[in-house]
Symmetry: C2
Subunit: 329 residues, 2 copies
């Protein structure tokens, strides 16, 4: 991995190494003529300062760890793409760190923290105190987002899940649904508990009993399977409120494609997330939003505020979902 160094350029340009360095850093002034000359020579040689060495001496880094936890749905992929793009627009580079299962998350994050990242943005269903401890020790600010709860010791940007559950379920109640089933997510994930709380509260407001509460991995397949079972049971629901769009689309497929039911007449369906796909004509899904742009925007603001002042108090931003009403409910 032989790589051109500043020294090589210095030699070629007939200047000192420090001159080359100064040519590449705005702060230190340099005679315009020499700077231009150095930059020209450097460009010809294809030289670029080594970000690692620079980082080492400046004690700062443009790297941001983006930690993908135990959540890998369609929504999440979209989310991380937006996040990477937003980081890059702000001069940061996203170092992707993935952990299949929750147990490994702290360990994986630990390994990744060998790189001197400016911060770590973590999206995971539950939060490992060890991970927080690790990054504390490394002085890496941690920002949690997405499925997790509000954390002591880390900044958070999260969705008001309960509000989504309330909005979605109240809408089904208003439609006149009486037997509303909850298709939930992974146990312990705030995205699940929050939305379920909203669901339960909305039912209570209306004096209704929950029809049933089930669990998925937030995904299409399990959403479809559960809906199929429930709809074929002795006491089928007349509506589903679903913890994710993916699960809702699964339920929609079970109802329309597999059982030839009419949606929303026979069974009404509300999802959560409002992914672009929700608006496709074949789905036309009513859903509570989980607005990626807004969340990413808040993450960027939180990140910048945190980097500007490492010692300030923990920040917590809550994004409010909205209900987008379409044909499915």
């Amino acid at each position: 991995m032989k790589r051109l160094t500043g020294k090589d350029v210095a030699r070629a340009a007939g200047v000192s190494a420090s001159a080359v360095s100064r040519a590449f850093t705005a702060e230190n002034r340099l005679n315009k003529a020499t700077r231009d000359h150095i930059l020209k020579v450097a460009a010809e040689m294809g030289y670029r300062p080594n970000a690692l060495a620079r980082s080492l001496i400046k004690q700062e880094s443009d790297l941001v760890a983006v930690v993908v936890g135990n959540t890998d749905g369609i929504y999440d992929k979209d989310f991380f793409n937006h996040l990477s793009t937003a980081l890059q627009k702000r001069g940061k580079w996203a170092l992707q760190i993935r952990s299949e299962d929750q147990e490994n998350l702290a360990e994986t994050l630990g390994k990744a923290l060998m790189y001197p990242v400016a911060a770590a943005i973590v999206r995971a269903g539950t939060v490992d105190p060890q991970a927080i401890e690790n990054s504390k020790q490394m002085n890496v600010p941690l920002i949690y987002t997405g499925l997790g709860p509000v954390i002591k010791g880390a900044d958070c940007v999260w969705l008001n899940y309960k509000s989504g559950g309330l909005l979605g379920t109240r809408h089904l109640v208003r439609r006149g649904c009486k037997k509303i089933a909850y298709i939930g997510g992974i146990k312990g994930f705030t995205a699940d508990t929050g939305r379920r709380d909203g669901y339960l509260e909305a039912l209570q407001e209306a004096g209704l009993q929950p029809h049933s509460i089930s669990q998925t991995k937030f995904d299409f397949e399990s959403g479809m399977q559960i809906a199929l079972n429930l709809l074929q049971s002795d006491n089928p629901p007349d509506a589903f409120y679903c913890v994710s769009d993916a699960a809702a689309l699964g339920a929609l497929n079970a109802a329309k494609s597999l059982l030839n039911l009419r949606v929303p007449e026979d069974v009404a369906i509300v999802g959560s997330d409002n992914m672009p796909m929700a608006s496709w004509p074949c789905f036309d899904l009513t859903a509570a939003t989980n607005p990626i742009d807004e969340i990413v925007q808040n993450l960027m603001e939180t990140l910048e505020a945190r980097l500007a002042n490492l010692d300030q108090q923990e920040m917590s931003v809550v994004v409010e979902p909205q209900l987008v009403i379409r044909g499915s409910a």
Copy 2:
């Protein structure tokens, strides 16, 4: 960004800095007792060697640049997730680099190459010679994949696009379709030209004329719009061969949901990619595969071969698509 150093640990453990270093590198032997002691102290303090400093001296890096070009469809998101995971399993870290438009790709890659990455994996529709030149200068091996053509000066892992076009179109011909339209991608992308070539050749074999050739951004919306226009025209096609699953699902929506046509009776539809979504009951899409696992596997093998021997000849792997027949054609 004050961070614990090996020196701090050395002081605390009453040993030298090199002892600490040796404790963290398997190669250099160390008395088991001292090693254990050092590791214990380090763990208590939460110390981790700085990967940047290590990289600087070892002249090698665990970073791999993953360059996301002007392609951001559902398939691509999936692809990059698999790629990051595969890299991490092999002890590499994916540094995400995104470029909205093709023009910026070389420039963005250039900036990212300030980080001493072991290699760069690029997935883009077209290839900028400047990007190749840049990475050559930085001695960073470049591996192209996906939409691009086979490149001089870089390793490639790509799909046999033409074969996909042949398989898909021949299948429509066998079904008895006579007016087969091609819904294509972005002009100049090999994913488009290759599949179109296959489409044209299959038609020629059958003595048929192309019904029409149109362009999308490989996406759902433009696929839907184009299909809608064609199906409402004076001379509607009886089949679509589509450059991507996303475009095919758009066409499917236009036919079934918007125009109430029967698929495949009124119009048959074949996609390309075979994303998981293609098998959803509401779609049941016949598609030529673009097998992520196989491509990523080949990328990993190419990467490892390249890193093992930087000077060996360019490698090129071609993955063959298969036709998965479902209900849509």
